[in-house]
């Protein structure tokens, strides 16, 4: 295996993206899905269950992608940025409902 050396920093940044970025993205996804499904009159815990099932699978995919992707900057942007956006949207939906 003549892999070009990958810097320790790059690895650390990718692990951070996989764990923290993946978590933030999953959180945002579950929060937004629950809020939207609840707004569509689904029972709260049903919404939570469905969102968690899909969210966990997304977490696994995001985790793998954080290492497979060429650019770690894109990974961080999508995972952390996407997570924050979805979480923000969830709060807006909640404000409209309560």
């Amino acid at each position: 295996m003549a892999a070009p050396p990958v810097s320790r920093l790059n690895i650390a940044v990718r692990i951070g993206a996989a764990v923290l970025g993946g978590y933030a993205f999953t959180w945002g996804f579950i929060a937004l899905s629950v809020a939207l499904l609840f707004a569509a009159r689904m029972e709260f815990h049903d919404a939570e269950t469905l969102a968690t099932i899909v969210g966990l699978l997304l977490f696994v995919a995001a985790f793998l992608w954080a290492f497979a992707a060429r650019s770690v900057a894109i990974v961080w942007t999508v995972l952390a940025g996407g997570g924050a956006l979805m979480a923000g949207a969830a709060t807006l939906v909640q404000r409209a409902l309560t």
Binding site: P4, V6, A31, E48, T49, L50, T52, L56, L64, F67
Partner: protein
């Protein structure tokens, strides 16, 4: 990250698998044992070796027990930081009472949740628990640790690290990494179908260890995936507590709507109320289940808002005949005994959720399936252990040549995680039979024995893996296998000596909880003994290259 996907996935699989593998080993092994947690409880507490009992009469047996309950002293200690001012000495308001049993429980676990006076969080609850003999209502001593259901089982999902749920989070991360390792492992290997039929024990250790790793990983791939995934789902609310944090306003709104729809009061009325015959409610619940074509026993019952005008009783069915973890709950007005509500048939989301959680938690009565679960869990252990061994075998010669110590350290931790864990579990069973029955805090001592034995095994593992640094087999493996064999036989013999329940008696009586544990221990002892012998024989003939050199050396000696 690397120039192609397979290299990246191999890196991910290797390093995350290695680091979290030590956690996963514990999760898989004690998960496998938890399949028979109630049976291990019977082995460890001989006073409870009698037939499983149905839910007893509430009015005659349970009510006096509940009315005499108070929070556990340990819970009061833990709650000190959650109150403003002094801790109460008496807890008059019971928020909830509950009793839970399964088709494998001779004794009954009951719990009561009390209002915590002066609590910082007004919704705080402080718990009291008890184990009773349902035939008499007699309380069993507190410090008889249920080793199966109160130590091995929580070890499986929390590592028994309770500080801020830290253990549960570590296990959750390990489960996520398990899923990642399964996906990345499949991408690395590609020839998935061929792996099912490939095991070459005669080849060199590195090759046969990898064969076994792939075989056990692929054969039980769906099992591993579903269990890691459903485990995460069961604790989904812990890992993503969105309904209690970010979306709490939405969740509160849902609770108000829910109590309007179900008619089950969400809060106390603040007016005293009485409690009618709960036995009559249980009979009515069973009648209604039968009318729906699913006759069954009561598995779980709770009383909410105890002693208040808003009190209600919920009765759930024991799910012995289905995978899904559903209770078909029926709720009664506590004062009048009238039915307030029957839980509606599950929605699609509930179907999926109860199926996955039920599949993981197995409340059903199906002994073949139970044994298959155990096998699935142990296959997972083999998969993880061979992963460690492959890591070591692949690197040890190179590390020896370069004077690196990595392979040796990994081997040391692998010994401790694999055989060391068995030594710890067995030491606990041996301690359980050796410690005096009236020793104060006996259950604590059993836990100390577990952790002390594991610490010893770790020290021994790190010490006796030194030869790995010279690319040889570590004697630690054979020595700990021998320790496992000796401890397992000792546990069976001690059970005989201290209780008189030898295999001849338990088998003749058909008392499988104890006979099964004893037989399993003897089987483990036999396998550990054979493994120790095989390892000794191998380390006698050092490595392949040394063996190849041997004849020429003897010729040289003759010459």
């Amino acid at each position: 990250m690397f120039q192609n996907l397979r290299l990246t996935m191999a890196w991910l699989h290797t390093w995350f698998g290695l680091v979290l593998g030590f956690v996963l080993m514990v999760v898989f092994f004690f998960g496998a044992l938890s399949v028979f947690d109630r049976e291990i409880d019977r082995w460890a507490i001989p006073e409870t070796r009698f037939e499983p009992q149905p839910m007893p009469s509430f009015d005659k047996v349970l009510r006096p027990v509940f009315e005499s309950m108070q929070p556990d002293p340990g819970q009061i200690e833990l709650a000190r930081s959650r109150v403003d001012g002094p801790m109460a000495t008496h807890f008059p308001v019971a928020k909830t009472w509950g009793a839970y049993t399964t088709h494998r429980d001779p004794v009954l676990g009951v719990f009561a949740g009390f209002e915590l006076p002066n609590a910082k969080d007004p919704d705080d609850i402080i718990w009291g628990t008890r184990t009773i003999d349902p035939r008499t209502g007699k309380t069993l001593p507190d410090d008889q640790l249920k080793i199966g259901s109160q130590f091995f089982y929580p070890l499986h999902y929390s590592l028994n690290i309770n500080w801020r749920d830290l253990g549960t989070w570590i296990v959750g991360f390990a489960a996520l990494v398990m899923l990642v390792a399964l996906v990345s492992g499949v991408i690395v290997h590609r020839k998935l179908f061929r792996e099912l039929f490939t095991f070459r024990p005669g080849k060199n250790t590195q090759r046969s260890v990898l064969d076994l790793h792939n075989l056990t990983g692929v054969v039980a791939l769906p099992f591993h995936f579903v269990f890691a995934f459903s485990g995460l789902l069961i604790f989904g609310g812990t890992y993503f507590p969105i309904g209690h944090t970010q979306l709490k306003p939405l969740h509160d709104l849902h609770e108000v709507l829910e109590s309007q729809e179900t008619g089950l009061p969400h809060e106390r009325a603040g007016v005293p109320g009485r409690l009618a015959s709960v036995d009559a409610m249980m009979a009515e619940a069973q009648r209604r289940w039968q009318a729906r074509g699913m006759a069954g026993e009561v598995g779980f019952l709770t009383v909410r808002h105890v002693g208040d005008a808003n009190a209600y009783v919920s009765i759930y069915r024991a799910g012995t005949d289905r995978i899904a973890l559903t209770g078909e709950g029926i709720h009664f007005n506590a004062a009048t005994g009238e039915v307030i509500r029957e839980d509606p048939p599950p929605t699609v989301a509930q179907h999926i959720n109860t199926f996955l959680t039920g599949l993981h938690l197995q409340h059903f009565r199906h002994w073949t399936l139970r044994w298959l679960y155990l096998m699935g869990g142990l296959l997972g252990c083999v998969c993880i252990a061979t992963g460690f061994l492959f890591f070591v075998e692949k690197r040890k010669r190179q590390h020896a040549a370069q004077g690196l110590r990595g392979a040796r350290w990994v081997d040391g931790f692998a010994v401790s995680a694999v055989t060391g864990m068995l030594v710890a579990a067995l030491a606990m069973l041996v301690a359980n039979r050796l410690l005096p029955a009236d020793l104060p805090g006996r259950g604590d001592w059993e836990q100390y024995a577990f952790w002390a034995a594991w610490a010893l095994a770790l020290a021994h593992g790190l010490w006796r893996t030194a030869p790995v640094a010279q690319a040889r087999i570590a004697p630690a493996w054979a020595e700990q296998c021998l320790a496992v064999a000796v401890l397992a036989v000792a546990a069976v013999l001690l059970n005989w000596v201290t209780t008189g329940d030898h295999l001849g008696r338990t088998l003749a009586a058909g008392y499988w909880p104890v006979a099964g544990v004893d037989l399993f221990l003897l089987g483990a002892a036999a396998m550990a003994f054979l493994a120790a012998r095989a390892l000794r024989r191998r380390s006698g003939v050092p490595s392949a290259s040394a063996a190849a050199n041997a004849p020429s050396r003897s010729e040289a000696a003759r010459a």
